[in-house]
């Protein structure tokens, strides 16, 4: 892969996946600043790993693996309990904004209450990835992904039913 091909592929991946990767970062870390910092780390690793990209795995699986592994090794710059701010603020229509913001904040809090692995699986699931893709990214079996997902869905639904989340 020459320099031009590398740059073209990087820009394609950036444009196609930037929002999904940012959402994964924001799902995994509660601080928007940390999430932005993690996003840059992920894209740096994508850039560094591109020469080894052979196209054997799907680009999305390949990129999500880098994203998930980078999240695992990310050193938080701010305190872990940083407040959730403006998580759903961008891109929502004005009339629904407050309602959607509250629902989104509740969802983020419910995700934050999950364990390390479940938090990552939950964000991948919310992105609409299949069990097989999640298994390929996380390295756990498809059957066990299924078990995990059932538990995660129950945990999220239970969290969101609790009164402190305002029955989202």
């Amino acid at each position: 892969m020459n320099a031009k091909q590398r740059e073209r592929l990087f820009l394609e991946l950036f444009h196609d996946y930037r929002e999904r990767v940012v959402r994964l970062c924001r799902g995994y870390l509660s601080s928007p600043d940390d999430a932005e910092d993690l996003f840059q780390e992920i894209m740096t690793r994508v850039w560094n790993s591109l020469p080894q990209f052979r196209g054997e795995a799907r680009a999305s699986t390949w990129l999500y693996r880098i994203a998930v592994n980078s999240a695992l090794l990310y050193r938080r710059k701010s305190m872990p309990a940083a407040p959730l701010q403006d998580v759903a603020d961008e891109g929502l229509a004005a009339p629904d904004k407050i309602d959607q913001r509250e629902r989104m904040a509740a969802l983020h809090q419910a995700i934050a209450a999950l364990g390390e692995q479940d938090r990552l699986i939950a964000t991948l699931l919310l992105e609409g990835l299949s069990y097989k893709e999640i298994a390929e990214i996380t390295g756990i079996t498809v059957n066990y992904v299924g078990v995990k997902i059932t538990r995660i869905k129950q945990a999220l639904e239970k969290s969101l039913r609790e009164p402190r989340y305002g029955n989202v």
Partner: protein, 196 residues
């Protein structure tokens, strides 16, 4: 109460564009490895300059020169170990499935957390032997009591500085990597039953 599918729709409605522009990101990714190389180059230059000064001072005495080279060798070993630690983490296979990645990363972090014999040799033995050899070569006309005191002082200096350096490094490493180790352990524990 919403269904999970409704939560998915809500989640995917976030059009959370990154704050960084593509141009700045390109600059960032290109400059990233340069940053680490620059830090390493600065450390190497500092060691080279100090070694150069030391060698210039003792140039006339082959024995003192040998001592200075021992000190320099200790510094080179220390730099090498630091660089290897950086490379070992930077070369982790980030495109591997997360379960395997987590266990490899965990193993590497645990190994890096413990100072290895070569680090003790570089930080303690090299400078201690080197300073004593230099002292023996340069102070041979001085009273034995003074020479003994100088040997003791230099040995203690090398031990305190080297030991202190290792302690500071270990504490910094512990502070920086403990949360990562805990997170990787939690991640591995979460998927232990179903890892491929």
């Amino acid at each position: 109460m919403e269904t999970f599918e409704e939560l998915q729709v809500l989640w995917q409605k976030q059009t959370t564009a990154p704050r960084i522009s593509v141009e700045d990101l390109m600059r960032h990714v290109r400059g990233h490895s340069r940053k680490h190389l620059t830090i390493f180059a600065v450390k190497t230059t500092a060691v080279a300059v100090l070694t150069g000064v030391m060698l210039a001072v003792v140039w006339g005495s082959p024995a003192a020169l040998a001592g200075a080279l021992l000190v320099a060798a200790g510094a080179v070993v220390t730099l090498g170990v630091d660089w290897m630690a950086h490379v070992s983490l930077a070369r982790l296979e980030f495109t591997a499935p997360a379960a395997g990645f987590a266990s490899t990363a965990l193993e590497k972090l645990r190994r890096l957390a413990r100072p290895r014999p070569v680090q003790y040799a570089g930080v303690l033995a090299g400078p201690m032997a080197g300073l004593n050899v230099m002292e023996a070569a340069l102070l041979h006309g001085v009273l034995w009591e003074w020479r003994l005191a100088a040997h003791l002082f230099l040995s203690m200096l090398a031990i305190v500085a080297g030991w202190g350096g290792l302690r500071v490094r270990a504490r910094r490493f512990e502070r920086e990597t403990r949360p990562l180790i805990e997170r990787l352990e939690a991640f591995s524990a979460g998927g232990a039953e179903g890892s491929e």
